[in-house]
Symmetry: D2
Subunit: 141 residues, 4 copies
């Protein structure tokens, strides 16, 4: 599990005075970048070295407690499940001030080559993504 801080700005809110529902996918992405970096990888290297991309196939968000302007949030991200040609990331966003769970969700990523063909997720990448994560979180089944 990797934890990434996010400070809510005005530009993230909408006129209900809460974070606009689509912006949580930005927060998820910011966390995903840091997760990958924390494993010693860089997303840009997936393409340059492995000729692979991990486009989002599915995204899901459950909204629990609205986040507001100036809230300091923590996005927790974990590798949820890695299959032959896909990987899922699970997210939980918590507000620092009171520990309220703001949102949970996941993104499912396909592993494709630069022509868009589905490819097996290389073992070396899977091993790197799973490093330091709880056993069984990435079964590679």
């Amino acid at each position: 599990v990797v934890r990434v801080p996010i400070r809510v700005i005005y530009g993230d809110t909408d006129q209900m005075s809460v974070v606009y529902y689509g912006n949580y996918l930005r927060y998820f992405e910011a966390a995903r970048n840091e997760f990958i970096r924390s494993k010693g990888l860089r997303y840009r290297d997936f393409e340059a070295e492995h000729r692979l991309l991990l486009p989002v196939a599915e995204a899901h968000v459950s909204y629990r407690t609205p986040a507001r302007y100036d809230d300091l949030l923590t996005v927790e991200i974990a590798l949820g499940e890695a299959r032959r040609a896909s990987a899922r990331f699970d997210y939980r966003i918590v507000r620092e001030e009171d520990g309220a769970v703001v949102a949970t969700g996941h993104t499912l990523h396909a592993c494709v080559d630069l022509d868009g063909k589905v490819r097996r997720l290389p073992a070396v990448l899977l091993a790197a993504l799973s490093a330091g994560e709880p056993a069984g979180s990435a079964s590679g089944a």
Copy 2:
């Protein structure tokens, strides 16, 4: 079913030259606004007249074919299911040029009063939202 046109701008794309995954929730919202307007309602009246809000409780997107800059998209929206205190909208985004299905998804909305308490969706609102939609699409069960 209500159909809403969207023209993709540069600001919607990311460096993969496709629409950023979070922006589909903006397209969903644009369609939701037009759906409500097409039924003779205005979202702002929900609050002013009924003292109710319909915050998003859950959002889901399945990404099928990437949309690109300058694509003309049609967002199809339908009332998926209306329960005592919630309503679901279903979405399908199609690219006009070739009919490709770009994305599908749904949003689930709770019906709450201005204090955030869950409230029954008023019959008059449900009837208005269901008007002209296929029978059974909003069971009100």
Copy 3:
């Protein structure tokens, strides 16, 4: 002058219940795309046919009257001045309901080749951009 309609969505607003100040640059861009299309050009052709790009060198916005959720806006765009290697677009955003001027501004675009070198704006492009616009709006000086 080309006029482009924009309907304000929730995602454009912030917690002041007005359109977030950065989003006017999205509206400007949407209008720029339609301006170019209305002249029989496509921005993507600049790159494919002329090997040229028109990156934004400068953007300016003056905020007059706040736009709000569900407002129907018209973005008016005109070619402001075209020089050897740059072009300026001028914008005015008006609210349809009451004719209020919401914002004015401009963007200045450099003409560069795919290596980023400044290039003369081709006469054929300048002529196309100026077609139907008031004389003197693009002096080409």
Copy 4:
């Protein structure tokens, strides 16, 4: 001068593989929030305690060197000039890796009360904003 780090995410870029021009106004805002916080103020208190708002009247950006995905940027912000009923903030965005100046710009803010009437910027607020800043940067003239 206050310095605020920003990590560029995919959602900030566009298909030119650079940060979308409108998103620099988000970076400016993030820096503005931190500037105000660093002076012991909170923007929300302007409204709650002083019954004042500081809406943006004007924004300007000069784009120098494109920022890219994963770049670590520093936004430098300084109080540029404070007049009777307005304050200007000046910004400079620098890329950490090579020190390149990515963008410069300013925002001009009016001081208005909750009815939208122009009001004198209170001396206590001006003093707080100017604390620790170079003499003369906020003349209060």
